[in-house]
């Protein structure tokens, strides 16, 4: 598609349940990123995929969070045993940059609003 697509757009889940968030990046973009935006906060980096390289997971807040990217395209962010503090908007972005990002911008999706009740 023309942009980064995320689904679902909204997700309400009960505390303790697992959730999966999906991201379809722009076709041909080799880099994919997940960020989290909590209420009143800036964006928090979670994880970064670049081609077939091992992902940079340094931003994942706990071992309940994991992500994969299949075939270098679609990515799924999984949160196990959700907690109320996981409530946030989860944003995915893709970029065509393979080295430094200074020449490129990220294209962001509209996000998935996760609410844990």
């Amino acid at each position: 598609g023309a942009g980064v697509s995320q689904s679902p757009s909204n997700k309400v889940t009960e505390k303790g349940k697992d959730v999966e968030l999906r991201c379809d990046p722009i076709s041909g973009h080799t880099a994919l990123y997940w960020y989290r935006q909590s209420l009143g906060q800036g964006l928090e980096f979670l994880i970064y995929f670049q081609g077939n390289s091992a992902p940079d997971k340094s931003g994942l807040p706990s071992d309940r969070f994991s992500a994969e990217r299949t075939g270098g395209s679609v990515s799924t962010l999984t949160i196990q045993r959700t907690q109320q503090e996981d409530s946030a908007v989860y944003l995915c972005a893709s970029s065509s940059g393979t080295g430094g990002i200074s020449s490129y911008g990220y294209t962001f999706g509209s996000g998935t609003r996760l609410t844990v009740v």
Partner: protein
């Protein structure tokens, strides 16, 4: 470590008056700096970027920003606000050559008629 500080959580202006959104950065190395805008229920959109070329950067929708190394600032300006400019604006820093963007906490711009 690199970081950005957006000095105002909210800025209110009248339509047709100038806009100033302030941002200060901290970086040990030559940074790349960006401004992103987020309209309600929309994705983040890149407004402009500074990557060590011209210090005055022009972006979309009439916005521009000036990189001032001596002041470690990258303030966003627009001569005349439009109602459609009402949104959340994020100042962002990244080390040149690295992938992670570090976002400020955002400034909500309110534009009144």
């Amino acid at each position: 470590a690199q970081s950005v500080t957006q000095l105002d959580s909210h800025v209110s202006v009248s339509e047709g008056t100038p806009v100033l959104l302030r941002c200060n950065y901290s970086s040990s190395y030559s940074p790349s700096l960006f401004w992103y805008v987020q309209h309600p229920n929309k994705g983040l959109q890149l407004l402009l970027k500074y990557t060590s070329a011209a210090t005055l950067v022009k972006g979309i929708n009439g916005f521009e920003a000036e990189f001032k190394k001596s002041e470690t600032s990258f303030h966003l300006t627009k001569p005349s606000a439009h109602m459609s400019d009402a949104a959340e604006y994020f100042c962002v820093v990244s080390l040149t050559g690295f992938q992670k963007l570090v976002f400020g906490t955002g400034t909500r711009l309110l534009v009144s008629p």
